[in-house]
Amino acid sequence: MDISELKAIAKELRVDIIRMLTAAGSGHPGGSLSCIDIIVTLFFNKMRHKPEDPNWSGRDRFVLSKGHCVPALYAALAKAGYFPREELLTLRKLNSRLQGHPDRNRLPYLEASTGSLGQGLSIALGMALAGKTMKASYRVYCMISDGECQAGQVWEAAMAAPKYKLDNLCVLLDYNKIQLSGAVDNIMSLEPLLEKWRAFNWNTMEIDGHDFKAIIRSLDDAEKVKGKPTLILCHTTKGKGVSFMEGKWEWHGKAPNRDEGERAVQEILARP
């Protein structure tokens, strides 16, 4: 898919995210909006997957380690045809398959159940290691968040992936600089962040995570690298697309009310 199509899908899915969260009355808009452009590029440009055959063993895997941002993933899965779009509005309701955080038992198209931060990268590492061991050709993509990088387990996984030369593993770090209760820099700074990953022997890249051209190029480049996993540090804006949410920790874990939701949708639709 070309860039103008990806842009149009991202716009549509931003609206879906707002509608889902408004209907649910709770959830995490900020980090869902910051990562949606990357998720759209993965699902509609990069990854090999077959919505009509979701269990296809050769599919590329996507692990959303920042599980609280699963509305972005649900929106992409529905758009790709995994399940009907109407189901999106059941988010967080009793008996829904669309749990507040990913539950792969209820919704089998999710590769991992996440929601406790810090664990997804290890699971992705395991999938990549299995791929190498079984000589399978799939690639594994893992999306992690910045606050999440404060968790020690992330660095345990970071240490292990280069040891096993997992060039089939590509991590996208959604660097929106805000976590639950404030700026990452104030709570527990990660800087110098790119240098940390580099020091752990990763192939590293740094891009604007809202620039589709840059996202595509970095994913293509990552696929060419041999003998090392890749980390793409994606500079993003928390709440991207809705001015009153952008860069605000207050919109980390709060759903818009009906009026705020409507204003958000209008603004998303009005942006170029």
């Binding site: 967080r92 507040g100 955080h101 539950d103 996440t114 404060q150 020690g152 209760s181 709570i187 527990m188």
Partner: protein, 308 residues
């Protein structure tokens, strides 16, 4: 009758006690605005430490501060802090470090966030450590008194708190008696023993039972460890029928604690009302109905116990 969440009462009490005891320090893991430790943080910023989303390190740091003579409260959602069990067993339990572990957002009652944020194994885990005290207060005033007690208690404590509001069940002049169950309603046919946020539904169940001619006693168990053996023995000597009620998994919580004592004494029978699966997203009321914590189900289980 204010419906105050016990995490709010905790935050207020801690902020007050911080002024009285300079050895109190508070650690949190990017959830201070949810655990309500930020009340303390804004009054005593020099004694508050946000450790980031790194609960394992918070456990160890808390242990170190305790071993250096301070009284650390380490706070997070209960699933995340008690989930660092290995660090807790070594650095706090085995090291006999005077750390107060505060787990908020316990149980399926948190609602829409779903299982990943629900602690329903935390009582089981913490109860398994020999020197760990486990307390779950039922309302605002009990939380305040319990926090005061915890500061005085020398040794590790796990304090389990709710996200959602809970009705006041105790009088304003309530006295907290460590290790003792509180009889909220007298009754001679069956005892409903509950802990934490489900006490409201348990009292309603007693009312349903009264309508069917069953006189149910209701007991609030705020101290899960050590459990009130004396009270359980006393019930064993009278009608001997206990229904336990908790927003926690069926294994290892209040029901297990009571059953262990009943089995050892060889007197009485127990039915456990608790969560029997992983939780899920939903509204709290709907979840309580689906997972058997509604007043109707509690009453039905009590009737079963009376009939067998």
């Amino acid at each position: 009758m204010a419906a105050k969440a016990t995490r709010v009462a905790f935050g207020e009490a801690l902020a007050r006690l911080g002024g009285e005891n300079p050895r109190i320090v508070v650690l949190d893991a990017d959830l201070s605005k949810s655990t309500m430790s930020d009340y303390f943080a804004s009054k005593y910023p020099e004694r508050f430490f946000d450790m980031g989303i790194a609960e394992g390190n918070m456990v160890g740091t808390g242990a170190g501060m305790a071993l250096a003579g301070m009284i650390p409260f380490i706070c997070s959602f209960s699933c995340f802090v008690t989930g660092r069990f290995e660090q807790i067993r070594m650095s706090i339990g085995y090291s006999r470090a005077n750390v107060k572990i505060v787990g908020t957002h316990s149980g399926i009652g948190i609602g829409p966030d779903g299982y990943s944020q629900m602690a329903i194994e935390d009582i089981a885990l913490m109860r398994s450590l020999p020197n760990m005290v486990v307390i779950q207060p039922a309302d605002g005033v009990e939380t305040e008194r319990a926090v005061e007690y915890i500061v005085r208690h020398n040794g590790p404590v796990f304090l389990r708190l709710t996200r959602q509001g809970v009705e006041d069940i105790n009088p304003p002049d309530y006295q907290f008696r460590f290790g003792e169950g509180v009889i909220l309603r007298p009754g001679k046919n069956v005892t409903l023993m509950a802990t934490g946020g489900v006490i409201g539904n348990t009292l309603k169940a007693a009312a349903i039972l009264a309508g069917k001619g069953v006189d149910a006693q209701v007991v609030n168990i705020h101290t899960l460890k050590p459990i009130d053996r004396k009270l359980i023995a006393q019930i064993g000597r009278s009608h001997g029928r206990i229904v336990t009620v908790e927003d926690h998994g069926i294994t290892g919580g209040l029901g297990s604690a009571v059953s262990e004592v009943v089995a050892e004494l060889g007197r009485g029978r127990v039915k456990r009302v608790a969560v029997e699966d992983y939780g899920e997203s939903g509204d709290a009321e709907g979840l309580y109905r689906k997972y058997g914590l509604s007043e109707e189900n509690i009453a039905a289980r009590a009737l079963e116990l009376l009939q067998d």
